[in-house]
Symmetry: C2
Subunit: 205 residues, 2 copies
Amino acid sequence: MRVKNLAELEKILARKRTLTTKAESVIDAPEKVDVPQLRIIGLDVALRCTGWGIIDARAHNKQAAVDCGVIKTDSKAAVSECLRRLAGGVRELVELYKPDIAAMEGGFFCRNVRTAVVLGAARGVVIATLAEKKIPVHEYAPRKIKQAICGFGNASKPQVALLVSQMLNIQTDKMAFDSTDALAMALTHAQLLNIAQGIGIPDPI
Amino acid sequence: MRVKNLAELEKILARKRTLTTKAESVIDAPEKVDVPQLRIIGLDVALRCTGWGIIDARAHNKQAAVDCGVIKTDSKAAVSECLRRLAGGVRELVELYKPDIAAMEGGFFCRNVRTAVVLGAARGVVIATLAEKKIPVHEYAPRKIKQAICGFGNASKPQVALLVSQMLNIQTDKMAFDSTDALAMALTHAQLLNIAQGIGIPDPI
């Protein structure tokens, strides 16, 4: 750009200076936006007793418990009835708490094919219900969950419950292990989100 | 019973005769009620390609084909997407054709636990969707289906398709084996209903 005289150049430089100062002031200003928050639902799926736990994950590895419980069906109920109630229960939870993402156990080892088919049925129902509500599902191996929560892969259920209680600052004495396990799954996902910008997180299934 | 005189005995005998004749006439009367009809949906469940076939079963072992097809998902689609579409597909079929009862394959043998979990997931989704619509599901072992349709338990898929085509009087040349297998499942249930008043039918799952 060519200017005709010095006065014009002075004007342009003055304008530029003002713009730069403004931009810098914007960068230096403290962040006043809301801290993004992710609501995660953890699900410990089984045919007759599915544990669930919901947490809110915030920046700087801070998590808060929202609610937890179990979806239970009678031991005499037919398989089809159990699956119907499981689907209905998960649908109700999603409508009530509106989670953004779900974490489940996967890659487990099960010797009996018949058991695998039944457990697979319960898992399928939960995954399909979450998919209908457009909630991505992430799977974690049981060992990875125990490692993320307790630091070692062979932790027992009471050990997992103790660490969950410490991390979320809640009482877990009277909770079913299905619920604390579900909270542990949600916490695993929240923790991996904080490590190296979530590089360790597997793709949703 | 003791009678006082012959006249009284005559009276009693006459009354009995009238009653017997009435009862016989009721039995001999031709059935004028509508022939009950049962709509059966057969489902050959898999994760990415589920065959379905619907028949109307009438008295005297008469069956008529209603419709058949496959619920297919892309081979690259995620597991959760496949399960979501499967649930949606079955729900649509039930709303469109309003079947009374469903027949599925069960008690199969599968060596790989991972495959069993995936197949179980698809089965679970279908069973839960049918249970939500209050449709009872009956399971039949693959061997039992082949025996009911072809007369021997080792029949191949083309043999099953051929017999299905003859029993329902339809062309099955251009149909997928998933569809003909599904029709075979529905036919198995219809045939067992006609044998000894359905004694061989297993309880719904």
